[in-house]
């Protein structure tokens, strides 16, 4: 089962790239429709739209999966003898995240500066730069890093709790997870209710269940392995049932809210779908995965892929929008181009560094 965690990271890395490729497809379909003379509302309900929605729903487990694997590792490095994880290990883990995060954030900021200087791009105040760094605001995907760092800072408490009372930890974080998602519903339904939708994406509360769940599973590997294997069919069937239901749920929400192209928020069904997917994936640990070696390889490169893929996609998309706007009308092809760029550019950069004199610095650049 443990070997499956690397493949889970690999699948999640692929899914993150798929998700953002689909996101760009939606941008081409809706926000950029005017660039090729289309009307956004006409694009809703088309075959391409539902392909994108299907992808959007399928990959909803990927960030929780990353957090789950990170939590599992914290349990691993704590060991059996210690009451909780040491601050030394927490510090090292944060260091290993912050260095590559900072490097790629600086790459972005350099591009922002160049755009401001030569292309009427937006300028940012020092305060805005600090805010971007602390909240992952430099790139839409970067919120994950501050979130994970928060979980690592909380890990001495979470690990202690997981050792003393794992069931209560899961129950409490599970309830909190659902409550956090509950507060999103009014805004996604278009209802103006105060004190809702106020929790920012980068705050650990938005994904509070998954890291602690990984810790608990990490401390109970053998019984979890038996339990997951014995219920694997149930988890798989649950995932297959919840998948279309979650798509329908979101379409109903969107229809009720009257908003076109509503940005996806995780709902209750998404939480249960994610649980089912992760548990099914681990439960079937004895079933050989297709392309297992490739998935493991992607898993080992997941953080680097995560940090670089949106950068590559963003600038490719913008170049296409300016130089080849007619191509945006073919959103499925555009989506494929985004996917190839999003996965290919990070892997190419990693391969180049791996063969270069800066190879010893690989970890600091890509994690």
């Amino acid at each position: 089962m443990i070997k499956r965690l690397l493949a889970l990271n690999g699948v999640s890395a692929l899914c993150v790239v798929l998700f953002h490729s689909e996101g760009w497809g939606m941008v081409a379909m809706l926000a950029w429709a005017d660039r090729y003379g289309a009307v956004p509302a006409d694009q809703i309900g088309t075959f391409t739209y539902y392909v994108f929605r299907a992808i959007e729903q399928l990959i909803v487990f990927c960030i929780p999966a990353f957090l789950f694997v990170s939590g599992f590792f914290i349990a691993f490095v704590t060991g059996r003898a210690h009451k909780t994880v040491s601050w030394r290990i927490v510090g090292i883990r944060i260091r290993d995240l912050i260095i590559p995060y900072t490097i790629w954030t600086l790459v972005y900021w350099t591009l922002f500066f160049l755009e401001a200087r030569f292309m009427d791009g937006r300028t940012f105040t020092p305060g805005e730069y600090v805010h971007m760094f602390l909240t992952g605001g430099t790139d839409p995907a970067y919120y994950y890093v501050p979130m994970l760092i928060q979980f690592l800072l909380l890990s001495p408490l979470l690990v202690y709790w997981a050792k003393v009372s794992p069931v209560s930890l899961i129950v409490v974080t599970g309830i909190l997870q659902l409550l956090v998602q509950l507060q999103y519903y009014p805004s996604i339904l278009g209802l103006d209710i105060p004190f809702t939708n106020f929790i920012p994406k980068w705050l650990f509360m938005t994904r509070i269940l998954w890291f602690p769940l990984g810790i608990v599973v990490g401390f109970h590997v053998k019984p979890m392995q038996v339990w997951l294997a014995s219920h694997k069919r149930t988890f798989l069937i649950t995932a297959l049932i919840l998948y279309p239901l979650a798509i329908i749920e979101w379409e109903l929400i969107q229809s009720f809210s009257g908003q076109i192209g509503l940005q996806h928020q995780e709902t209750f069904l998404d939480t249960f779908f994610t649980l089912a997917v992760i548990f099914a994936f681990l439960g079937y640990y004895q079933t050989k995965l297709p392309y297992a070696h490739t998935l493991d390889d992607l898993g080992s490169k997941s953080f680097g892929i995560y940090l670089i893929h949106t950068l590559a996609m963003t600038y490719t998309a913008r170049l296409i929008a300016v130089w080849l706007p007619g191509f945006l009308a073919y959103q499925l092809l555009f989506f494929l181009v985004m996917f190839v760029v999003g996965l290919g550019v990070p892997l190419l950069l990693m391969a180049l560094v791996n063969r270069s004199p800066v190879r010893p610095f690989y970890k600091y650049i890509f994690g």
Binding site: I2, K3, S70, F73, F76, R80, S86, I92, S300, R359
Partner: protein, 79 residues
């Protein structure tokens, strides 16, 4: 080549990318941050593929993986 050398070479070349050429079998891999979560998972997969030893999940624990020496002692005990 014995297990210890095989594992040291793999960690130094593939996981550390030549960053710690002087890594020894007694160096702490985990407390010092030499290996992270993904590195441990890759090491388990490598042991399975290259040494043809399947490490049971319940044995993938800090105590067996905190150094190459500890890992070799564990793997020898498995055999």
């Amino acid at each position: 080549m014995n297990k210890q050398q095989i594992l040291l070479d793999y960690i130094k070349q593939d996981l550390l990318k030549g960053r710690m050429a002087k890594l020894t079998a007694d160096d702490d891999l985990l407390d010092s941050g030499i290996l992270n979560s993904l590195g441990i998972l890759q090491l388990v997969a490598f042991i399975d593929e290259r040494l043809d030893i399947q490490v049971p999940d319940e044995d993938v624990v800090y105590e067996n993986f905190h150094s190459v020496a500890a890992l070799v002692a564990y793997l020898d005990g498995l055999a």
